[in-house]
Amino acid sequence: MRRKEKFIEALLALCAGISVFTTVGILYVLVSESYGFFATVPLSEFLTDDQWTPLFADQHFGIMPLVAGTLLTTVIAIALALPVGLTIAIYLNEYAHPKLRKSVKPALEVLAAIPTVVYGYFALTVVTPFLQQIFPELAGFSALSAGLVMGVMIIPIISSLSEDALFAVPKSLREASYGMGATPFQTSFKVLVPAASSGIIVSVILAISRAVGETMIVAIAAGQQPNLTANPFVPIETITTYIVQVSTGDVERGSLEYKTIFAAGITLFIFTFILNNISFWIKKKFLQKYE
């Protein structure tokens, strides 16, 4: 019996360890391939050059335009998805009839399952022309419409997982607040959201991850033009789009041009690492306060 328990614990730990092997594998692939890249291109150029043109004759290897594009689309997507997703979660949890909740939640989850090609063309052929009527200076390809559509795609990640977290808040807290004469709005924001903050933060992290990793929407609607800018109206390119284009493209394997994707990949890895540590820190602060 005891041995069986030990065995099971070891087995579970082993499963959890698979994620470590995955990380090691990813780091191995990224580092071993980008090693050659950084032997040719100095890190200082990589970080400070304001152009990213590895595939042009006049090569520049400044990663910042891609980082800027990634940040820009992600921020736009989250700026749409977080308020909308969280509002939906709260609405379904506190206001809507349970029957509505039961059917709306899975319906919205379908949004996460629609192939991203569809979103991409939707952004290009519907959203962009529409936005151009509001902002005439908007280019035909832009971070704005790609980011917004991406935001729609990740709404269900935030709404569903946050709703689960809100649902799990003990009923007694809810009753305490209502009993004091609080409105559902106040109950939600002063009691439920703080109490469910751990789960809500997790949902946002997953949503950001998905936004950062999304390629097709950006590839179709944002223009694939590395641009060191914070202007959402102009075309940009993101790190992941670049990686996908090159890794399934005509570039010869083993060349410096090909190795750029690993340099870009490792940048993204560090980027998400920093992001995660920040959110970890936030989460810890919140949890100290509420547990």
Binding site: L55, F56, T248, R253
Partner: protein, 296 residues
């Protein structure tokens, strides 16, 4: 590496060549139903990487093999032969409401696309003075594609020499959308995409450097070489290893015999009769040099 099962042929590589190989595979299997032909599109580079490891029999290539890829083949003792199978024309296009831009010279194209044009050639009138003083917006294929390499080589003079401030996409349909939605657009992409979207975009005639006459892109003008210099050849590469198998020999023969007809059915331009006979001869020699392995 494939033991047992039905005889099979694996093709991978460029997504540009894919429709041709797919068409050939389909027709080939119609007459040889027991053979399985698969076609992937992991890109010319990805394909060559598998090709040089002997993982695939045929690589679709939208550009000639590079020296690194060649030495990888050598390192693995793989000999190969390349065959031209079709031409892909490149159409220069503008928005249908564009009334001024009807033809363009190679020099003008160069002035517009060369690296020094970045941040300086920004309006139409800078190309031709009687064109309007309006911003020009550029669209073109992704930088890692064979089309981009070929266009820059043919127009600017060196492959990949190009201004960087234009909107790129790997997907020509996206470029069609981009040009169709912007009245100041100027772009180039595969001829087939123009042919299928004539209602949305307008082609610009390219002035043939030799004859000095404007020529609009079409299958005919590409085929008779009057539309110049904007058409590029598409290739397939075959390993010697694969020729040990009878089904591959049959397949390549079938490919060269039928590529003229089939490439046009998918929107490309076929080789001329002379070019075809050169490829046929090359194939005969290649087959002879690598006889089929007699089964033990």
């Amino acid at each position: 590496d494939k033991k047992g099962g039905p005889p099979s042929i694996s093709i991978d590589g460029s997504s540009t060549v894919f429709p041709v190989s797919e068409a050939v595979a389909e027709e080939f299997m119609a007459v040889n139903p027991n053979v399985r032909v698969t076609v992937g599109e992991s890109g010319t580079g990805g394909g060559f990487s598998k090709f040089s490891n002997g993982k695939i029999d045929i690589n679709d290539a939208s550009r000639p093999i590079k020296s690194k890829e060649d030495s990888a083949c050598k390192a693995n003792n793989i000999a190969y032969e390349s065959f031209m199978v079709a031409y892909d024309g490149m159409a220069i296009v503008v928005h249908p409401s564009n009334t001024w831009c009807n033809d363009i010279t190679v020099e003008e194209l160069k002035r517009l696309w060369e690296p020094s044009a970045r941040d300086s050639i920004m309006t139409w009138n800078q190309i031709r003075s009687d064109w309007p003083v309006e911003q020009i917006r550029l669209f073109g294929p992704g930088t890692q594609s064979g089309t981009f390499d070929y266009f820059t080589e043919a127009i600017v003079g060196t492959a990949k020499e190009c201004r960087t401030d234009y909107t790129a996409s790997e997907d020509d349909n996206v470029l069609v959308q981009g040009v169709a939605a912007d009245k100041n657009a100027f772009g180039y992409f595969g001829l087939a995409y123009y042919n299928n979207n004539k209602d949305k975009i307008k082609a610009v005639a390219v002035i043939n450097p030799k004859s000095a006459t404007p020529v609009l892109p079409s299958i005919e003008t590409v085929k008779n070489k009057s539309y110049s210099p904007l058409s590029r050849p598409l290739f397939i590469y075959v390993t010697d290893l694969a020729l040990e198998r009878q089904e591959v020999r049959d397949f390549i023969q079938f490919y060269i015999d039928n590529c003229a007809k089939l490439s046009e059915s998918v929107g490309y331009v076929s080789l001329s009769v002379e070019e075809l006979s050169i490829e046929e001869a090359k194939l005969a020699k290649f087959l002879e040099a690598h006889p089929v392995k007699t089964a033990q």
